[in-house]
Amino acid sequence: MSALPAALPASVASRLLRAADLPRRGASLKPGDRLPTGVAPFDALLGGGLPRGALVELSGRSGGRFALVLAALAAATSRGEAAALLDLGDHLDPAAAEEAGCDLARLLWARPLRFRDALLAAETVAAAGFRLVVLDAGLALPSSRLRDAGPWLRLARAAAPRGVAFLLSTPVPLAGLAAEALVGVSARALFQQAGAARFLAGAATSLSLLKVRGGRPAEAPLLALSPLAAPLARRLLPDLRPPAASASSPAALTPPRRAVACA
């Protein structure tokens, strides 16, 4: 038995455990297992990514939320995990999602018409064992009844036993006590002048950890997002490279120096 790890490729051998390790591993996985989204500032705020078996709320009205939603979906699906997006506003553009790195074959896209249906659908997919479930509430402000923590506690409870990473994206905070962490998002548009033409160069997005269970609020470095996921811009400006192209990680990015917020 001891010769087995030596005979295996290193990537496989490093994952082998002895029976004695299993209980410890199981115990350590439950609180510690996280789904990194690949957006370094966001992952750093959450201690390594979206916690499995818990609900994280992403809230903000001025932009940047959907980009993080797509990044989380891309991270899960590109690693071979099944993910579900409950898209209450019917906002997903599959071309943009593909551009962001989503493996669309692993993405279940549900388009509920009512918030109640979205909650039921979220509970259904969480119980089925989807590794990442995202409920995007769209742009409209939800009714005040949804500020009650009841349905969210129920969803968080549905996510826990199957180790589902649950991401709730809403214009205003809703989940209250049910959320493991609440991340505020805001963005500022950056336009760039190129000769006589002016074009959208991206958005400077700020992330702040407003609340986390057992932790303190925190701020993340500014995150620059490029608009080139938009199929239109990608096709019309083939020579334009996004600011992210030169950097290995979006965390390292700062807004372009020449970026202006023109009137």
Binding site: S11, V12, S62, F66, A67, L70, A74, S78, R79, E81, A82, D90, H91, L92, D93, P94, A95, A96, E99, A100, G101, L104, A105, L107, W109, A110, R111, P112, D117, L120, A121, T124, V125, A128, G129, R131, A189, F191, A197, R198, F199, L200, G202, A203, L225, S226, P227, A229, A230, P231, L232, L236, P242, A244, S248, S249, P250, A261, C262, A263
Partner: protein, 505 residues
Amino acid sequence: MAPPRLLALAVPLFPLAARLRAEPELRDEALAVTEGNGSAARVVAATRQARAAGVKPGMTLPQARALVPRLLARGRDPHAEHAAEEALLDAAGRFSPRVEDAGDGLAFLDLAGLAPRSASDLLAFERDLALDLLRAAEKDGLPARAGIASSKRAARIAASLPRSPVVVPPGEEARFLAPLPVERLAPELGLAVALSRWGVRTAGDLARLPAAEVGTRLGDPGRRLHEAARGLDPEPFVPRLPALAFTEGASLDWPVVALEPFLAFAAAALERLVRRLAAEALGCARLELSLHLEPEGCDVRSIDLPGPTRDTKTLLSLLRQSLDARPAGAPVTGFVLSAHPDRPRRGQLTLFGPPEISPDELAGTLARLLALLGEGRAGSPRPADGHVPGRFALVPYAPPPAPLLTPPLRPARGLLAVRALRPAVELEVLTHADTPVSLNALPASPTPVRGRVRVAAGPWSLEDGWWSEAPAARDYWDVELEGGGLYRVFRDRPTGKWYADGVYD
């Protein structure tokens, strides 16, 4: 060559058993199943309570009601009998691959090859098998009797005896039949009268007569009856082909107009259907509902499921949804539910890759989503051909197998996403030098897009599908409003109208 071994599985009082299977709440009532209309209706079968009070098959309904004033009467239900027959064959099919459908609650099983080679006591094995089969039929709501012999006729007669199961040892059919009344051989009326005149009372009496003399006097029917009395049966075993669909249904005693009472009947039928599918380790891939309408009409509808499922609640929700969307339009007098079966998909678990959802569970989940959200509201998204942003196609969700090893995480691409607005929001736009300076969504719009423009970048032209019936010729702008919000707006060149079709987010 060893003689064949056949098992006859018979449901006594089959029309009654089929009715009680569909309406189990009537089991403890005095109930008679009748055939015919009005006062000419005759009792075909009756429950123990009714029989104890003297109700017998052949009586007219008024005669039976004279004996039991509170007697419940139900007509024969062809749908329920067909479903019960199928359930009987399904139960039989779980024990032998070769089953014959003899109709009216009778099935034959070929037991060839089922006994283990080492079975020292074949008869004990066959008896145990028959007992298991009877239990399986009982579970499907069919109280049955079983008889095993080397010929169909002997097996059927053995199954008609009250102490079930009866196993006739191979080659002893004649000895088994000998003490039984000759009526058990079901002779034609003329033959029965002739045999009675001759003083032939039992099958053994008949078997002892010279075959040639019987043939000369009673003709071909008499010769065949003589053969039957000697345990010979030339009738071949005809196995049925496996069913392509599982059906359950019922004729309703009174026409149903409202949805809820109908769904109560449908739920019971679905439960029976799902039980039968589960016994075969199958799931329902397509559900068909055929409604019989008053006075004469039919409404057939089909529901395709994303994957084979056996979730009764989900199937019922889909039925409700279908009937809500398109009501039958006339009172319903009967219905048939057909489940087209499929094998549930099997998943392969990986040791080092990400966990995969069980295909069976996934199929159930997708069916529940279909029931909850409606047709075309859940699936796997795909970009549509063409250059117009936001277009999409939805295909059934069938994820590929999980990778054997979890791939390493790649950094996110850091792209600003666009929320598509569906449908595009029509705008009232003020322009200065062909550049938008103010946007205002028309009042009917669900998305409030309103305000003075802070920055506008554009225009970029887009032309798509000029060869089609719906070409797109647009000038796009990226517009930031003073009050917040970064929109993708366009002017439709043919009409000159402005729309917002996306929000940068």
